[in-house]
């Protein structure tokens, strides 16, 4: 930048002109037809009626810090002191209080890995990166080595559980889903039949039923004395569920590719797996990024269903925080807090998918 451009000799538009300009904008965009004008008025009325009381509740009349719940009950506004009192429990559940730096570190590692995975440059070593990250996370949470005390996974809770169930669930489900999708379009009748059966069976029942099966029925079929860990059972149910749904999304991508792509691959003399890996899957997956991320987001929120089998994910922890007899009744604040956390993760995912779509469509733009 040089001095000339800053000392632009053009006169700045004067105030009146600017007002006229914005009035014109308002007329053109908000009041251009009678029904748009009506909608504008209704929405303005709505905001005027909702926002001030909401602001009063959230800010003006709220209680930010107190050890006495009665102060909160007497106040007209939100009781953020409840969140202040309970945020560690909501985030980390029943994990030993003095050791909660460990799940905190685990959450930070997971978020860092997620962020790093967004960068295309890391994709070459994405598998070792995640394996290393998850190993460190596991060591942190379980402990029992390097002077860390052992913490059994019944005591894990909050955000780490939600992240673990969804991240591990999706990471394991994704390759299974690819295989299922390929299997369903395979020429081998037995493979195709198995894949169709699996996908349709899982898609035919609600996730809550799968969780129940894994949690209530499965232990009864095992020999007495043999119990599979409760969290692991839930994790397997989530993986099975996610795999079936993702498989159908990926199959959509496979079907959208023109026949010519398959024929071109065949004419190059590529075998089945190389054809899929080098030509078909990269294109098919790129096409279905939006529905895949849609499934991811739905799945992330579905993890809250483990509530019914007594696993302390962030939702269960929130509900449980509300049962402290000293701090009863602050459910608005609690759910708002947890809602914001869910929103942050889901919003990040959808923003990332938009960026990813742009990246992948670059090659196909003409």
């Amino acid at each position: 930048m040089t001095a000339e451009t800053r000392d632009d000799p053009r006169p700045s538009p004067d105030f009146a002109a600017r007002v006229a300009g914005s009035l014109a904008w308002v007329r053109n965009n908000l009041f251009n037809t009678w029904y748009n004008a009506l909608f504008t008025l209704i929405i303005a009325w709505f905001f005027l009626n909702v926002l001030p009381p909401l602001f009063d509740w959230m800010v003006t009349n709220s209680v930010w810090q107190t050890d006495d719940p009665r102060v909160c009950r007497d106040a007209a506004g939100a009781c953020w002191a409840f969140i202040h009192e309970k945020y560690r429990f909501i985030l980390f559940g029943t994990y030993p209080y003095d050791e909660q730096w460990r799940p905190l570190l685990m959450v930070m590692i997971t978020i860092a890995l997620l962020a790093a995975s967004c960068d295309k440059r890391t994709w070459r070593f994405i598998v070792p990166m995640w394996v290393a990250g998850l190993t460190v996370s596991g060591v942190l949470l379980w402990g029992g080595v390097f002077g860390l005390t052992y913490v059994e996974n019944l005591r894990w809770g909050g955000l780490p559980i939600t992240l673990l169930l969804s991240v591990v669930g999706l990471a394991v489900a994704f390759p299974i889903a690819v295989l299922l999708a390929l299997g369903r379009r395979s020429d081998l009748p037995v493979v195709r039949a198995i894949c169709i059966c699996y996908i349709e069976m899982i898609r035919g029942v609600p996730l809550i039923t799968l969780l129940f099966m894994s949690s209530v029925m499965l232990p009864l079929f095992l020999p007495t004395g043999v119990t599979i860990d409760k969290l692991l059972r839930a994790q397997i149910a989530m993986i099975m569920f996610a795999a079936a749904y993702l498989a159908e999304v990926i199959r959509g991508g496979l079907q959208s590719l023109p026949r010519g792509q398959y024929e071109a691959a065949d004419s190059l003399g590529l075998g089945y797996w190389r054809k899929m890996r080098l030509i078909i899957l990269p294109q098919a997956l790129a096409v279905v990024i939006p529905p895949i991320v849609n499934t991811f987001i739905a799945f992330f929120k579905d993890t809250s269903l483990v509530l019914i089998i007594g696993i302390f994910d962030i939702m269960t922890a929130t509900k449980s925080a509300l049962t402290d007899p000293h701090w009863r009744g602050f459910f608005r604040e609690a759910y708002l807090f947890t809602g914001v956390i869910y929103f942050c993760f889901c919003f990040f995912m959808s923003k990332y998918s938009q960026w990813l779509e742009k990246e992948f469509s670059k090659g196909r733009r003409h």
């Binding site: 129940f212 949690s215 009864l220 449980s320 701090w327 009863r328």
Partner: protein, 339 residues
């Protein structure tokens, strides 16, 4: 609901596949060095909830701790498995937990065909009534002509009608489906009385701005005895859990508290001597150390202390002892003689 049906199916299957763990539970517990205790996952205020540091606290939790203290001399030798209502029986049947202490009502089917053995009652719950104190009512018998807020389709509604008919009184039901809405209706004064299980009323009342302006009437009109249970097949373990509960009651009856238990070791009362193991024999009979009851009382307290600590009048729940008082005070809590 289909979730309920599923859980039921699971339970039926479990009964068919009746796990044979005869005599094994107690040995397994001693071998692993801790008690695996099934507790309420969603949390029930005062009975099993988590404090701000994520520690389980409550009346049910203290029973888990008392069992651990009696078996291992350490009330902390317990691990909690949070369970939902649908999971609880399977968890016990499959051996995932050693004892279920999760506000579970003692009923015939549960005690027999579901393969559970209830070891006693740690809280007599039942349907109760709450009224605003300015109504001037002190007994449910004075409720003739009252409007009553109640949730539909539950036994609560039936019990309510039965109670009023049996006592030749009339009432006007205000039936509202959702819990927070029915509570709101009561707070707004749309009805004079709110009815549900007494423990539920107490925890609802603790969320009010002025809980002292509402009274829980002493009458309970239904029977919901809540207690710990173990699975069929290990009578020795059944005895241990059962007598830990009785020891806590006996301790209260004899005035032994966590604070004075050491002084009580000097007592000349033969019952106290047998209970605390000064006069040996009881521990051996149960397969425990002689100081089993001493440890439980010392580390957890007697039943009255546990009650007052978590649900009593000084707590936000503010429950009076009522049916849960000792038999000597007009309640139902009664321990067989320790000898």
């Amino acid at each position: 609901m289909n979730t309920k049906a599923l859980a039921l199916a699971g339970v039926v299957l479990a009964t068919l596949a009746a796990p044979a763990l005869a005599g094994e539970t107690f040995d397994a517990v001693k071998e692993k060095g801790f008690v695996q205790c099934g507790v309420n996952a969603g949390g029930l205020p005062g009975f099993a909830n988590t404090d701000s540091e994520g520690t389980f606290v409550g009346l049910d939790i203290d029973f888990c701790r008392a069992v651990a203290a009696a078996v291992f001399g350490d009330a902390e030798a317990v691990r909690y498995t949070p369970l939902s209502a649908q999971q609880r029986f399977t968890a016990l049947q499959s051996g995932e937990i050693d004892v279920l202490i999760r506000n579970t009502t003692w009923t015939t089917t549960r005690d027999t065909s579901l393969g559970l053995n209830f070891t006693g009652v740690n809280f007599y719950d039942g349907q109760g009534f709450m009224v605003p104190t300015n109504l001037g009512v002190t007994s449910a018998m004075e409720l003739d002509g009252a409007t009553v807020c109640v949730q539909p389709g539950t036994t609560t509604e039936l019990n309510l009608a039965d109670f009023f008919r049996a006592n030749a009184m009339s009432f006007e039901p205000v039936v509202i489906e959702k819990l927070d809405e029915v509570v709101e209706a009561y707070v707004q004064g749309r009805c004079d009385v709110y009815t549900t299980d007494a423990s539920g009323i107490a925890s609802t009342r603790s969320t009010f701005t002025n809980p002292e302006e509402h009274l829980i009437l002493p009458e309970l009109i239904s029977k919901e005895p809540l207690g710990p249970s173990v699975r069929h097949g290990d009578d020795q373990w059944f005895d241990v859990v059962k007598w830990v509960g009785f020891a806590l009651l006996e301790a209260e009856e004899k005035g032994i508290t966590a604070a004075n238990v050491d002084a009580m070791l000097e007592s000349t009362d033969p019952t106290i001597q047998r209970l605390l193991g000064v006069d040996a024999g009881m521990g051996e009979a149960l397969g425990l150390e002689e100081n089993w009851a001493y440890n439980a009382i010392k580390q957890v307290g007697n039943y009255g202390e546990i009650f007052e600590r978590h649900v009593g009048v000084e707590t936000p729940l503010g429950l009076s002892r009522g049916l849960n008082a000792l038999w000597t005070d007009g309640g139902l809590m009664y321990a067989p003689p320790i000898r």
